[in-house]
Symmetry: C2
Subunit: 211 residues, 2 copies
DNA sequence: GGAGATTCTGGATGCCTGTTCAGGAAAGGC
DNA sequence: GCCTTTCCTGAACAGGCATCCAGAATCTCC
């Protein structure tokens, strides 16, 4: 059953279409539950049984909706991506001035670090797994690209509001923000309450320099 | 036996000292072997049996020299640090000009990416683990700090040779180099032969901007 | 060269893993 | 209401895991 989703030969209609929608909806529901467990335990320590236990289902169901563990994790990763790559777009689109954009960005950044710490440590974990397992590489590379684009949108809009252009490459821009975020995420998870303010300080100094 | 290493109350002398030295030497030997396996398989997929199989010993020995798996991995991580944290110091100390320093740094960077890819993916893996397990946090934080210092030494010497001072914070400087390295490491491991030259291009453009 | 400490072996144990599957429960169609 | 398809359960399986440990091998020292 699970492979019907892959079918591309013809576009299903009516009842069959409905059934497939239900199927993928449940897949997403399970992926969502899996993400929570993964965010809590990390890739290495998360088992299918554990995932099932934290959902409303038994572990057998996971093999009804997913061909195997990799299929599940891949689904999770893709689902995660859709949720987070537009995080700063609202701010970018509406901020009227350079300063407003900076402050809006900082606010969202702090909120992300505070409330999405689990998801982000999972992302760093999975990105590290991609260094070892080819199955993850394509998805991880694509997400990394999306995040790079996201950061670029913020910075180039910030530059635009100052009548300038970003002074560094996309890759370098993403690298520095990502690196700073990761560093302060670790500090934050180590209960260092200065992590968030100091991340904001870094970014506040940095953004005007690069854009 | 394994805990005698921890003993701090008095400084052992003579024969006892020799015995302890032998003990820690073997620990390091085993840690070295473990690092190779870890670099190949990653933290999540490395078992003690696998480590033992790639060394000259059986899995039982690992429990003679290490109290448990965490003890072993911690020992590995510390050992790893000592090896890589002075990588660029030779170049920094001897380069006569700004350009020579840049080119020497780039050369070493390319060499590292090419020949130490395994160790570095392990580092990124373990750093991600630290986001989940407190046992690793202290060591990982310390190594990160050492790497930050290492990058800072290069950049501030580079700035000095131009009669300048680095334009960004230590944290931001490390973040951007680390982020770029990680990105191109993934590309390199994905058999992208442009990974190394493009990393060098990035750094060549970046370093004069920040220092 | 022999006694005692140290080092190493490899089988045993019990737990956890992903996956399979027979069959029960629920839903859908008529 | 009944039959078929879909959905879900939980036991069973084979394999891998960290850890323990009895005893063999090796080394040390007198």
């Amino acid at each position: 059953m699970a492979d019907q989703v892959m079918e591309k030969a013809r576009v299903p209609r009516g009842a069959e279409r409905l059934r497939i929608d239900k199927f993928t909806a449940r897949r997403l529901e399970l992926a969502e539950a899996a993400l929570e467990t993964l965010a809590e335990l990390g890739y290495a320590r998360t088992s299918l049984r554990e995932i099932a236990q934290k959902s409303d289902f038994t572990h057998g169901v996971l093999h009804y909706y997913f061909t195997d563990k990799v299929d599940l994790i891949t689904c999770c990763v893709r689902h995660y991506k859709a949720k987070c790559v537009t995080r700063y777009d609202q701010v970018t689109a509406t901020a009227p001035t350079r300063d407003a954009l900076l402050e809006g960005f900082l606010l969202k950044l702090a909120e992300t670090l505070r409330e999405e710490a689990g998801m982000h440590r999972l992302w760093y974990d999975l990105r590290a797994q991609a260094l070892f397992e080819d199955v993850f590489r394509e998805d991880v590379t694509e997400i990394d690209k999306s995040l790079e684009d996201m950061v670029w949108r913020v910075a180039s809009r910030y530059a635009e509001l100052g009548g300038k252009e970003p002074a560094v490459s996309r890759a370098a821009l993403y690298a520095v923000f990502d690196g700073l975020f990761q560093k302060h995420l670790l500090r934050h998870l180590s209960n260092d309450e200065r992590a968030i303010p100091e991340l904001l300080d870094e970014v506040r100094r940095l953004l005007p320099m690069v854009a």
